[in-house]
């Protein structure tokens, strides 16, 4: 029974008290949200409407400079594409892994879950530097391939988009798998049996039963991976290098190197808006598929 339903079942005076208590309970979180998220966001918006680095002259110069430069559009597009590529890679690898998880006995499920969560227990800096060791010129991958005689010269994996997507896929994988497994574990196993009994092949069962029903988890995973990959400054700069320029690098340069906070604010807001737009589109897709399913 939900809290609203409990409140409705109480007598008049108690119901009023309950509603008041419910409102008061939400107050600390609301205040924290307003103070720690909304206020800084408004400050960010206000800062962007200044022309100079000393934040003394109000104006639109920072917006005009940022959006008047075609390079900014390239950076925004590259940032969003990086997020989408990482999402695709995590789905391609993560979804089969989630299916394997479903078919495992409970004890092995616990082991697999631990392996999935393991990367989250390490600092992102450690994980990122570990990827330098793996992908580097003298790293594990190159040494293995050279030992096997597959290549004679080391491959350039570090400071390439391919290397960055590979490492982000591993780094962000728990964000895809945890919501996916959470939703898929609640699926009724009888549905698969029923599908098979009605003559559907395993593939047909997968695409007509399991995938549609797991869509809320898949969409949630995509949202988390996308938001995290597009803003992963450390991974982007350390593994990707500075020839691959994404919005977080521009924000860092303007805020902590050049100290032009209005331009940094414009770049930050561009990142927020562009990432939120893709997230909104993914959420819309999720709602649409959910409606389709219930219809």
């Amino acid at each position: 029974m939900t809290s609203a339903a409990i409140g409705a079942s109480l007598p008049g005076e108690q119901r009023r008290w309950f509603r008041l208590a419910e409102w008061q309970l939400a107050l600390p979180l609301s205040l924290a949200f307003a103070g720690l998220f909304l206020a800084p966001l408004l400050l960010l918006v206000a800062t962007s409407f200044f022309d100079d680095d000393k934040i003394t002259q109000p104006g639109f110069a920072s917006w005009l400079k940022f959006f008047g430069d075609p390079f900014s559009y390239k950076v925004i597009l590259d940032t969003l594409l990086l997020g989408l590529k990482t999402v695709c890679a995590t789905v391609v690898i993560g979804y089969p892994l989630a299916l394997v998880y479903l078919d495992l006995p409970p004890r092995l499920q616990k082991v697999l879950l631990f392996i999935i969560v393991l990367p989250m227990l390490l600092s992102v800096v450690v994980r990122t530097f570990a990827w330098i060791v793996v992908l580097g010129r003298e790293g594990v991958v190159n040494q293995t391939l050279q030992w096997l005689g597959v290549i004679s010269e080391p491959l350039k994996l570090l400071q390439t988009e391919l290397g960055l997507v590979i490492s982000l896929t591993q780094i962000e994988m728990p964000l895809m798998l945890l919501p996916l497994i959470s939703v898929m574990s609640r699926l009724d196993p009888n549905l698969r049996d029923a599908s098979a009994a009605l003559g559907a092949s395993r593939w047909r069962t997968l695409f007509t039963v399991i995938v549609p029903l797991s869509m809320p988890g898949l969409i949630a995973g995509c949202l988390l991976v996308f938001a995290s990959a597009t803003t992963a400054f450390i991974s982007q700069t350390v593994i990707g290098g500075v020839r691959l320029i994404y919005l977080p690098l521009l924000i860092w340069q303007q805020s902590l190197v050049v100290y032009h906070w209005p331009l940094a604010a414009v770049a930050s807001l561009s990142l927020v808006v562009s990432v939120l737009s893709v997230i909104a589109a993914l959420s819309w897709l999720g709602r649409r598929s959910s409606r389709h399913l219930h219809a």
Partner: protein
């Protein structure tokens, strides 16, 4: 037993108030100083903090902040600085000077002033460490380069790791490279043009903080950097040597300044005096910290690039008041020229 709300409140206030007492007792001997995150923070926490406590009974609170972060916080605080002492490289030092963030400095209050080379203290602050910038290379993989120009030639260029204008050492190195091709202190375009010509060959273009890691992992085998990084890498067993370019190594000094409006003026001077003292400077020069000292009494290690501190006067130095106004545009240009 019944506990009334008023009793509970009074008890809480009394308990909370009592917790401030030790702070009041300690407040007399305290100074808040900024330090760079990483090696600087570790070194100052390990060496300077206990020395200052022992000698002057002053509690040193270290605030790890990058240079421009310090400037940002001091500006934002509008006259009530969140720390008492800045530590800055030449570029941010000029920004702080122009913004009027420093207390007028009276070098005579430093007991160790006589131990510093001439000109190492002025009316805005004191030099606390030197940095010498040149070329680092892996002697097992490459012959020693002679100068900046070699970086763009084979065999070095295909093993070269570069970084942009975010740091003092990166900016200084690119200026020197630019001078070889007709550039100047305020014109780095020739360096960018030459770098772009060989860009597909260059092994790594990274953030300054990532370069030592990339060198250690063999991603690049030659880079421009400072002697401190070379000494730190050597300490980790990495094959690395430092070369003074034939046109001269670059040097610049890290300085400390007292924040304007500080309430801990006397303690700030005591802290600075401790930083430049022979004991602190000598300890800071030792591994794993490998600082270059500013105190004449401190013996220079054999692998340091100079025989005496005075020799640094012959090294290349840059006027950061001319560099600063250009830097934002240079960073933007570097982004565009180097972007894939």
């Amino acid at each position: 037993m019944t506990v009334h709300r008023r009793t509970l409140l009074a008890g809480t206030v009394a308990f909370g108030g009592a917790s401030f007492l030790p702070a009041i007792a300690q407040a007399k001997g305290q100074v808040v100083a900024t330090t760079y995150p990483g090696t600087w923070e570790d070194a100052y926490r390990t060496i300077v903090l206990p020395m200052l406590k022992k000698k002057d009974n002053i509690d040193l609170e270290l605030a790890p902040l990058f240079a421009m972060d310090q400037i940002g916080k001091a500006r934002a605080s509008r006259g009530a600085p969140p720390f008492d002492v800045f530590v800055l490289d030449p570029g941010p030092r000029i920004v702080g000077l122009e913004a009027g963030l420093f207390e007028k400095f009276d070098a005579k209050k430093l007991g160790n002033l006589a131990k510093l080379p001439a000109g190492f203290a002025d009316d805005v602050g004191v030099h606390v460490s030197a940095q010498v910038v040149g070329i680092a290379y892996n002697p097992k993989k490459l012959p020693a380069p002679k100068g900046w120009g070699d970086l763009l030639k084979d065999p070095w260029v295909s093993r070269l790791g570069i970084t942009g204008f975010q740091t003092t050492f990166g900016t200084s190195s690119l200026i020197e490279l630019s001078k070889l091709f007709g550039g100047s202190l305020t014109n780095v375009d020739p360096a960018l043009v030459e770098l772009k010509k060989v860009l597909p060959k260059i092994a790594a273009v990274g953030l300054p903080a990532a370069m030592p890691g990339l060198f250690q992992q063999g991603q690049c085998d030659v880079m421009y950097t400072n002697t401190q990084t070379v000494a730190t890498l050597k300490g980790k067993g990495v094959d690395v040597e430092f070369v003074k370019p034939e046109s001269g190594a670059i040097t610049f000094f890290t300085t400390m300044h007292i924040a304007k409006g500080t309430g801990e003026l006397a303690n700030a001077y005591k802290y600075l005096d401790m930083v430049i003292s022979k004991d602190a400077q000598e300890a800071l020069t030792k591994p794993p910290y490998n600082f270059l000292p500013v105190n004449n009494d401190v013996p220079l290690a054999a692998d340091m690039p100079m025989k005496s501190l005075d020799e640094m006067a012959t090294y290349v130095q840059h006027d950061w008041s001319k560099i600063n106004p250009q830097r934002a545009a240079w960073i933007e240009k570097f982004n565009k020229e180097m972007a894939k």
